[in-house]
């Protein structure tokens, strides 16, 4: 099955991933994705009926922490690498509700 990746697909994925590609990059991306998806299609050859998708490889479950405050005021550390800061908050371009 040949995967035809269209301009729309690349646009759409760009919106999901917040990436803006140049025209050249878009062409390359279409070709690359197409080839990779063709390769990934190989998986369809395998009969996986009755197999549960395995999201966690080890049989670990029920890992919890207790409801006890362990962190104090770390605001200085939190803001240390901020590209833009004002009044102890992160500055970002205006958001609209």
């Amino acid at each position: 099955m040949a995967n035809v990746i269209t301009d729309e697909t690349i646009e759409y994925v760009g919106i999901l991933a917040k990436l803006a590609l140049s025209e050249e990059e878009k062409e390359q991306a279409k070709a690359d994705m197409g080839r990779m998806l063709d390769y990934i299609d190989k998986l369809a050859e395998l009969d996986t009926t009755g197999i549960e998708p395995m999201s966690h490889v080890l049989p670990v479950q029920n890992v919890f922490r207790e409801d006890v405050v362990t962190n104090g005021d770390e605001s200085e550390k939190t803001l240390k690498n901020a590209p833009g800061e004002k009044d102890n908050m992160f500055m970002v371009p205006k958001t609209f509700e």
């Binding site: 999901l16 966690h56 479950q61 922490r65 405050v69 770390e74 939190t78 908050m89 958001t95």
Partner: protein
């Protein structure tokens, strides 16, 4: 003939849980800290940080699920919901889509139309986002991550509601349940309870649902009621004019009383949910469920029924007292100490409610103890203080929760019950007020009131008005 339309409503209610710490880290959830003072690498999405689940969140979610007749999903996981927004530090929210912790419950409500059961589709755990503040001066926005990571449960109803009245009844019922569990203080206007309304309309008798819209920013029952009416009208207008309702999210502006679509071509609304690899699955044993079930409190209906038979107090009082779990607990605990339901009820219904209203407080915020209230009632019963003094003492107790017996001793507020001293004071008052004495003797009953007042004044309030009255009558 004009078409008749039915409104179909489903609700997504987010409840901020009253745990001490956030869902995935040990930061405090306390309200009101200075910006970003309750943050750490985990709740701010620093590279290399990892989430670890707060057990208490699971307990609370299960408790709410059991109280709303849900089935607990005994094997559940967290999923990542991916979307970009500055209040979301990882640009994904950890939530539950595929295996929410509770499913298939229901809540019974009562409206003017009668009783009804509203289905609960599912309840799931998730993390809250940070807060965005808009800075007019710099034409930018500012982000505070204190709220990021605060635990939420989202309660998704079936589209079973048909009117704003039903919606309000449902919300009040949910709030009652959650407050009784102590899981959250559930206040719409403070954001600890948030409701999104999903609404569609269809012709009465139609079998399928119409296209629904989602409405956000509904911060009061009033806003909800208006929004429902407004959206119903808007949708009907569209349909009547041959147009279609677009599935979209709309933001309600209660001041302007209209909604607008929150559309953005930058937002594909494709959240690409997948199981979060950083969080192992949760297996909930039968024992754990039983534990939670066993620690469920008696809910309001049962309590009301029990109060009716157990305590001889008016139904109206029962209604008010059980409206708040804290108030109900206070009532029962005080009665357990002093055994006087009517008197306890009077203090709660009278002075307590008055002060709550005056100070704009919620019953949950009452700080005086049942022991102290019982003591105060004891002081009045033994006539150690009169009712005026008792009210004054109560106001102090309401604010400071001090021991009223000690307080009365220290401040010397005890009623003087020494008949000798009393007689002396009465005699003085009679001597000093010949006109009133004459009036009384002349048949004016009311005049004795003045004389009682004067005596009370002379005794600096520390007399029992009843006794004063009696002595006065004797001497006159």
């Amino acid at each position: 003939m004009a078409k008749q339309y039915e409104t179909v409503i489903g609700l997504e209610v987010h409840v901020e849980l009253a745990t001490k710490t956030k869902i995935f880290c040990g930061c405090s959830t306390a309200f009101g800290g200075a910006p970003n003072t309750h943050t750490c690498p985990v709740c701010t999405g620093m590279p290399g940080s990892l989430p670890v689940l707060n057990r208490q969140v699971v307990n609370a979610a299960m408790a709410v699920g059991l109280a709303t007749n849900c089935t607990i999903t005994q094997y559940c996981k967290f999923d990542r919901k991916n979307y970009f927004y500055p209040d979301n530090p990882q640009n994904y929210q950890i939530s539950q889509l595929y295996l929410p912790i509770c499913r298939n419950g229901h809540v019974d409500i009562e409206t003017s139309e009668g009783k009804k059961s509203v289905g609960i589709h599912e309840i799931h755990m998730e993390e809250d986002a940070g807060k965005l503040i808009h800075d007019e001066w710099e034409d930018c926005s500012l982000v505070d991550y204190n709220r990021s990571g605060v635990p939420l449960i989202e309660i998704v109803s079936e589209p079973d509601m048909r009117s704003a009245e039903e919606v309000i009844a449902y919300l009040e019922k949910l709030r009652m349940i959650v407050q009784y569990l102590g899981a959250s203080d559930c206040k719409l206007n403070e954001g600890s309870m948030r409701a999104d309304v999903n609404l569609s309309v269809r012709e009465v008798g139609a079998e399928t649902f119409g296209t629904r819209t989602e409405m956000k920013n509904l911060n009061s029952f009033r806003a909800i009621t208006h929004a429902i009416a407004g959206e119903r009208e808007r949708q009907i207008e569209l349909l009547e004019s041959g147009q279609q309702v677009t599935q979209e999210t709309r933001r309600w502006d209660d001041a302007k009383e209209y909604s607008y679509a929150m559309r953005s071509k930058e937002d594909a609304q494709d959240y690409r949910y997948f199981p979060d690899p950083d969080l192992p699955p949760i297996y909930i044993s039968d024992e754990w469920i039983a534990q939670i079930r066993d620690s469920q409190p008696e809910f309001r209906e049962e309590k009301m029924a029990r109060y009716k038979t157990e305590f001889d107090i008016p139904e109206y009082d029962i209604g008010i007292i059980t409206d708040s779990k804290h108030l109900a607990d206070l009532f029962e605990e005080t009665v357990a100490i002093c055994g006087q339901p009517k008197k306890v009820s009077n203090w709660l219904m009278g002075e307590t409610l008055r002060l709550l209203k005056e100070k704009g407080m919620d019953p949950e915020e009452i700080c005086f103890s049942p022991e102290n209230l019982a003591k105060l009632i004891g002081l009045v019963d033994s006539k150690a203080v009169n009712s005026t003094v008792a009210k004054e003492v109560f106001e102090v107790m309401f604010a400071e929760d001090m021991d009223p017996e000690k307080y009365v001793e220290e401040k010397g507020l005890k009623t003087v019950n020494d008949e000798g001293a009393l007689r002396k004071a009465v005699e003085e008052v009679i001597r000093a007020n010949p006109q009133s004495v004459a009036d009384y003797r002349g048949g004016k009953e009311k005049a004795i009131g003045f004389l009682v007042g004067q005596t009370m004044k002379a005794m600096r309030g520390k007399a029992d008005p009843g006794t004063v009255n009696k002595v006065l009558r004797e001497l006159l």
